[in-house]
């Protein structure tokens, strides 16, 4: 039997990498290779959010 999926724990890590990536993007305001790659990572993180975060946030107010 598969282990149960701990969505809250996964989401905490998603939010962690999102925060870190946003910080990297901010640091890259004069560093295109940093800023643009951080943008791409954020787009991928958004896919993690629509796959996971949206689902666990269902009961929270918008």
């Amino acid at each position: 039997m598969d282990d149960p999926i701990d969505l809250n724990s996964i989401n905490a890590k998603i939010q962690g990498i999102k925060k870190t990536t946003e910080e990297l993007k901010h640091l890259g305001y004069n560093f295109p290779a940093l800023s643009r790659n951080a943008d791409r990572i954020l787009a991928s993180i958004k896919m993690l959010e629509i796959n996971i975060t949206d689902c666990i946030d269902l009961d929270s107010p918008e």
């Binding site: 999926i5 943008d39 958004k46 629509i50 796959n51 996971i52 689902c55 269902l58 918008e62």
Partner: protein
Amino acid sequence: MIADQKYWNPVLETLPRERIRDLQLKKFKRIFQWAYDHSEFHRNLYQKAGLGPGDIRSFEDIRRVPKVEKAMMREIQCKDPFPYGDALCVPLEEVTAFRQTSGTTGQPVYQPDTWQDWEWWAECWSYILWAQGYRAKDRVFIPFGYNVFVAFWAGHYAAEKIGCEVIPGGVLDTQARILKIKELRATAMMATPTYILGMADTARNKLGIEPSELSINKITCAGEPGASIPSTKKRMETAWGARVYDHAGATEIGAWSYECRNQPGGIHVNEAFFLVEIEDLQTGEFIQEPGRRGKMIITALDRQAQPCIRFDAKDVIEWDPNSCDCGRTFRLIKGGVLGRSDDITKVKGVLLAPAAIEAAVRGIDGLGDEYEVVVDKLGDMDRIKLKVELIPGSEDSAKAIEAQLKDQLRLKTNLAFRIEFYDYGRLPRYEVKAKRFKDLRKKNTNNK
């Protein structure tokens, strides 16, 4: 092993129905707010209807949100911000991809996407491909022109995301594509049903290669309803010795549905990413129950640059009363997309959906894959003619085939057709979307 996992997303694809509805409502509110805040087009549309973001509290409220039609998008494009107009929700410099619709029904509509939108497109397709058994061990051949049409672009990126090895069939001609499949032992491919059948014909008759002896074991179709028409699906599966799966998507919408490996006679709506509503074709009444055909109104719940909110897609669909044994809780559309509401036309007073003709033609063994339908008038009377090809060797059975075809057509369409037989290879061949229905009654009177 990740390859053994049945679902791309084991949480969303098996979410209880009431949770799916909660998710859709929450996401609809979010995309409505986004469009209202960032696009003048959407804000004006909703303000005229007396709606603001705070007014969307239930599915009944969603049905009060004005629909968007393709003609409205045509009207705003080429205005500022050029060339998309004021439905654009992001600064122009955030747009990273241009695509356009095929223009089958008129002036093509432009579609801007951000990089996040492209990640989303690939994510939609990842659900499709995973459900159809694509895994990292697959070598996927994509015989598509890689141009301004969205077609299989996102399928390409999704296959890469899954870990497949992708061979872009780009500018190669059909024979070169078949030889490349053979040379590299590709295991999967994606194309329109018309092209899949055309490739099989070319392989046999121009290259002397039996397509079922190549290594393709699964095919994903798009662009036409053929993969959900049992007789067409059977022809493709027999020709290639492969499982053939359907999916439906559109440039303005995204890849919104997919057939799974169970081949349940329908396609799952990806309800975590899309909200599908069905309206009666005549009255516009909301249809919730299975078995009643209507027109699809669809919302892409996560699309950013040019949102797709309650888009009148003109696709004719119906809910399947059954759930799928695959365990997905996403609802099924029975028989896939059945046609387009603007393709359904009255002939001799009878409503005719061209897909019914395809089902009849492809169900008869002695007929080739190609056909053409011509409707015209003699005086005030409609006439309908079907042009078909006999496959070599079946010429002696022409009379029996004609009788069988007429019976099937009457059964499926309630119409009497005149049949014209052509030598094999005489009717036009198509590489992408076929244009097999010619309504000459509209000539010179319909310039849409």
